[in-house]
Assembly symmetry: C2
Amino acid sequence: MFSKACEYGIKATVHICIRSQQHERVSLKNIAEKIDSPIAFTAKILQSLAKNDIINSSKGAKGGYEMSEDNFNKITLLDIVKAIDGDNIYNGCGLGYKNCNAKKPCPMHFQFKSIRDDLKKMLETTTLQELADDINEGTSFLVR
Amino acid sequence: MFSKACEYGIKATVHICIRSQQHERVSLKNIAEKIDSPIAFTAKILQSLAKNDIINSSKGAKGGYEMSEDNFNKITLLDIVKAIDGDNIYNGCGLGYKNCNAKKPCPMHFQFKSIRDDLKKMLETTTLQELADDINEGTSFLVR
DNA sequence: ACAAACTCGGATAAATTTATCCGATATAGA
DNA sequence: TCTATATCGGATAAATTTATCCGAGTTTGT
């Protein structure tokens, strides 16, 4: 469904959000350990999340990544997915046609559209804060 | 969403179904031209569809691919997707965890599950016959 | 029996995604 | 100012997906 880069990006952002709620900055090393991801690859993903203003990064000693409090309930899964995988997964045609629309639909168009719309809606209504809170409450689990 | 191999596989099967409704066998070359796919790559995909009993292949002169009439309304999109991409897209965890379930859910688990279930339901209730009929009626389009 | 028209399947190659390495640069603290 | 600790970012490598090539085998029709 999502690329590995995107999976890592979501996990990382959730972890950063949780720690930022506790006013703690986290290092790349810490993140990669927590979410069990390759460290250097994770660095690239975090860079791109930072460039997209989803997280903030600080260089140097005591540096690391954090999320601004304002962003807790502003950033959604959609922001992350869009930044890493682009919008193809919830906007693109199921058969890969570039010119597929209601006027000239591919055979799967209408069946697919409602699923894509649901997916998009889910992504854009799920905030990082919700995800973090669930984990804090023990309702869901990031680390296995 | 789906791999390119899977997209080609769906398009090819729909085309084969349409021609089989007209009692015509189609060659690899004809299929690849119609669905605008790389011919040799398409051959591999057709081989795997044939091995999964979704289509039948015949070697030699006048050979090619066809679908048995019985299969028109038996084969669904799910059969094709399962044969080519596996079941991960509608069964797998959104964050890639292998041990993600209602008892130990990942942060996206429940939001995702309903979408995956919808996707699976759509795939397993859409038959090749329906797709072919829509095209025959001019309601949808395979060739652009 | 032979030739033409096909698919099969193994070996490669190209493209993309995932992953690693490392020097450059920035920051905190002694 | 110096050192330890971080991220940044460019180069490279490994793995996977996509795509190509071609000889072998099969079938039809002559």
